[in-house]
């Protein structure tokens, strides 16, 4: 009886929260916003190059031998770093890059790009040429 009542209450509260539309306001990532988030998530890791997803729902940065991944989840973001070589070799199909994050807390990330690997990603990050999409070097 009590359990059934609690279940009903849970349903009512979820519906009410959905009706209120009070999630954090989200807008597609800009280059500056992506950099600010990366700085929060990965303090002390300099960004050699950054690519913002074409839909603005995430970003990927190179920091030395690491790829820093930022991905939108609901009205927040989830961040992980993986080896850069692994990011470059990740599966890319129909404009979506699928990254294996090797973590049960966040197993995979999907980022939309025009092309992958980005042009110039193989050479030293410092002299990368502009890639297709919204890549910027710092």
């Amino acid at each position: 009886m009590q359990t059934a009542g609690s279940a009903v209450a849970v349903g009512v509260l979820i519906a009410f929260a959905a009706w209120a539309k009070i999630a954090k306001p989200m807008s597609p990532l800009t280059d500056a916003r992506a950099r600010a988030l990366m700085a929060e998530e990965f303090p002390g890791r300099p960004i050699d190059a950054l690519w913002v997803a074409t839909d603005g729902a995430g970003a990927l940065a190179r920091s030395g031998a690491a790829a820093l991944v930022l991905c939108e989840v609901g009205d927040g973001y989830v961040a992980r770093h993986i080896p850069w070589a692994q990011a470059v070799a990740s599966s890319f199909r129909d404009g979506v890059l699928r990254l294996d994050l090797s973590d049960v807390a966040a197993p995979a990330a999907r980022l939309a790009f025009d092309a992958w690997p980005p042009l110039g990603a193989e050479v030293e990050a410092a002299n990368t040429k502009p890639a297709k999409g919204r890549k910027t070097a710092s």
Binding site: A7, A20, P43, D75, A108
Partner: protein, 300 residues
């Protein structure tokens, strides 16, 4: 007295529901700044609902152990003595502080507690995001000394319930600060926001249940600073809103690490080291994140 004549948590459920409705309504009409994401709310409330069920699995064993210890008690605290309630108020809250600190500083117990912190939101629904695996993690044993001193199982259960109910209302961004005297003595929304924040400076701080005095005494107090806005969640946030992931991800992580362990030292480290412990120190712990932040602050 063995069986509590009432359960504070059950009595408070209607208040929980009304308070969540009020918080959402106030945010909807822009009176207060709370945020609710529907799938996050669904996960939090489902975890609260599920914890009630999961708790039943181990409640019997925990209760039986409490009764057994109480039967071997050294004193007897009468259920109706006023001084008994004053004493258990402080002693239970001190127990809670150490339970909570253990739950953050040692991975085995963090695995049971992490789900409470796994939301990137901080609202009244977050308060209900309760553990499913607390019973099997055995932390209820920390309350057994109270029974050994002579507090009855009923009195312990009631005081634990009062603490849980108290901690509900502090999970909100709707209240900025309480009066200074209140902030000095009691756990408040401001203090507990810090506890839920993942900013390096705020990690592993403010373990209080009802009274913040324990954090002040044991050196884990950190006031909320206007210049450092809380960012909520865990160091490595969850990739989706799956409640099973929230409930079990750290346990699975422990299991995977144990399979790769090459020595008893590694087994011990993976189980009872601080969350993020690794044999070569390649993963981040609260301590390394805090040290890195300190170094950058000094350099910058």
């Amino acid at each position: 007295m063995i069986h509590a004549p009432f359960d504070p948590v059950t009595l408070a459920v209607p208040f929980f529901v009304l308070a969540v409705i009020l918080e959402i309504a106030l945010a909807r009409f822009r009176v207060t700044p709370s945020n609710y994401e529907t799938r996050d709310t669904m996960a939090s409330l489902s975890m609260g609902f599920g914890s009630q069920i999961a708790g039943l699995l181990t409640a019997g064993a925990a209760f039986a152990a409490t009764i057994w210890v109480w039967e071997h008690r050294i004193f007897t605290v009468p259920f109706t003595a006023w001084w008994g309630w004053v004493a258990i108020f402080f002693l239970e809250d001190l127990t809670y502080y150490w339970f909570h600190r253990l739950s953050h500083e040692r991975r085995f117990w963090w695995a049971a507690h992490v789900n409470h912190h796994s939301s990137q939101h901080y609202n009244l629904s977050t308060a209900l995001r309760q553990t499913w695996t607390g019973g099997v993690s055995g932390t209820w044993a920390l309350w057994l000394p109270l029974a050994f001193f002579g507090f009855s199982p009923a009195q312990i259960a009631i005081q634990k319930g009062i603490s849980l109910v108290y901690q509900f209302w502090i999970h909100t961004e709707a209240i900025k600060r309480m009066p200074a005297w209140f902030e000095a003595v009691f756990n408040t929304p401001s203090h507990h926001r810090v506890h839920h924040a993942r900013n390096p400076r705020y990690l592993d701080r403010n373990y209080a249940g009802i009274l913040i005095i324990w954090d002040r005494m044991f050196g884990t107090f950190q006031p909320e600073l206007d210049e450092e806005k809380c960012r909520y969640g865990i160091v490595k946030n969850l990739g989706d809103f799956n409640v099973l992931r929230a409930a079990f991800h750290e346990w699975i992580g422990i299991g995977k690490d144990l399979l790769s362990a090459r020595s008893p030292r590694e087994v011990a480290g993976y189980l009872f080291g601080p969350p993020g412990w690794s044999p070569d120190g390649s993963r981040e712990t609260s301590a390394t994140l805090r040290a890195q932040w300190e170094a950058e602050r000094k350099a910058g």
